[in-house]
């Protein structure tokens, strides 16, 4: 079961600053889909190092969205990729889908 993303960290940083909250949501709505597409492109073209790079980037978003376990899985996946393996790929893909659904709701 994939944990659900949340905006607790962003809300804590924002406090009463609604402008920041909205700005952040806009940024993540723009940035995440692009990174996901980039990731999928690297995977389908077997660009392992580039996949590891984008996984590294994506995992920060897991952290920001309060997904600690997903972050740990991404760390493992990144290491696997650098080691020529991909055992965590399907779980990682599930996390991306979960986030994609979530950011459509915010």
């Amino acid at each position: 079961m994939i944990e659900q993303p949340n905006l607790n960290y962003v809300d804590e940083l924002a406090g009463d600053d609604i402008e920041f909250r909205n700005q952040f949501i806009t940024i993540i709505k723009d940035e995440f889909p692009l990174e996901k597409v980039e990731y999928q492109g690297h995977v389908s073209n077997n660009r392992v190092k580039a996949t590891a790079e984008i996984v590294h980037k994506l995992k920060h978003k897991f952290n920001i969205l309060g997904m600690e376990n997903s972050y740990k899985l991404a760390v493992t996946y990144e290491m696997e990729l650098l080691d020529g393996k991909n055992g965590s790929e399907s779980k990682f893909n599930e996390i991306l889908e979960t986030i994609e659904k979530y950011i459509k709701t915010i």
Partner: protein, 236 residues
């Protein structure tokens, strides 16, 4: 303090900018999504602080630091502590913040920078920001910063160009001087009792003539340091 933010991720830059916005003394002058653009900017502008993502594709944060001739204070922002530790040996790197960065931790970092003077030389022995209160000491061994708990240190012995730090579990050889490490140690806990020895005061088992027993270490007391040791003892 003027600062810039360098991070290839827009979300990360937004977060650092928000953290900065809560500190009146910080003024974010510019943001960059890559280090090369920042270098061009730094050739024309004086900046006090750089918040730098260390893991960026192509030209990393470490590459960036190496290119700067007169670097300002740099705070690394990273999710990878190992990367940060490797880079921490650079004199200009004053702190590292692990993502996701909390406001409290960020404020501590700024407090640290505010207290720094630009001329202050940095030892290879670093006090970590989180341990300003004196709980930990980081020693540089083979380009790794190893954390020692101050209350686990027994004796520090000078050995030529090196010092040997003896803890309850291990011994570490560090390329520095006794004088430098003494500056990093809390006076309440540590005392130099000989030209070549600093001891953890609370670890003393007994004192006999001109030596102190600490765990299994017999440490000599010099004549000149003896009065201070005796003064600090809670004698009956």
């Amino acid at each position: 303090m003027n600062c810039i933010i360098i991070d290839d991720e827009a979300t990360a830059r937004a977060i650092v900018r928000q953290l900065c916005s809560k500190i009146p003394e910080l003024d974010v002058i510019e943001e960059f999504d890559n280090a090369i653009s920042a270098i061009k900017f730094l050739n024309q502008q004086n900046i006090d602080v750089i918040f730098l993502d260390i893991h960026m594709p192509g030209f990393s944060g470490v590459d960036f630091v190496q290119t700067l001739k007169n670097p300002p204070n740099i705070v690394l922002t990273t999710s990878d502590t190992n990367f940060a530790i490797a880079a921490y040996e650079y004199e200009c790197i004053v702190d590292y913040l692990v993502k996701p960065i909390t406001q409290d931790r960020f404020e501590k970092s700024i407090k640290k920078i505010s207290g720094l003077t630009t001329n202050q030389p940095k030892s290879i022995i670093e006090s970590k920001q989180d341990s300003v209160e004196g709980d930990d000491l980081y020693i540089n061994i083979d380009r790794r910063l190893v954390k020692l708990k101050l209350n686990e240190i027994l004796v520090i012995e000078a050995k030529g160009d090196y010092i040997e730090v003896k803890t309850e579990k291990e011994e570490y050889r560090v390329h520095t001087t006794l004088k430098k490490i003494k500056e990093k140690l809390p006076e309440k806990l540590f005392l130099q009792i000989h030209r070549s020895y600093i001891i953890n005061f609370i670890k003393i088992i007994d004192i006999e003539d001109n030596s102190v027993l600490i765990a299994k270490n017999v440490v000599p007391i010099s004549r000149s340091n003896r009065p201070e040791l005796m003064r600090r003892l809670n004698l009956l």
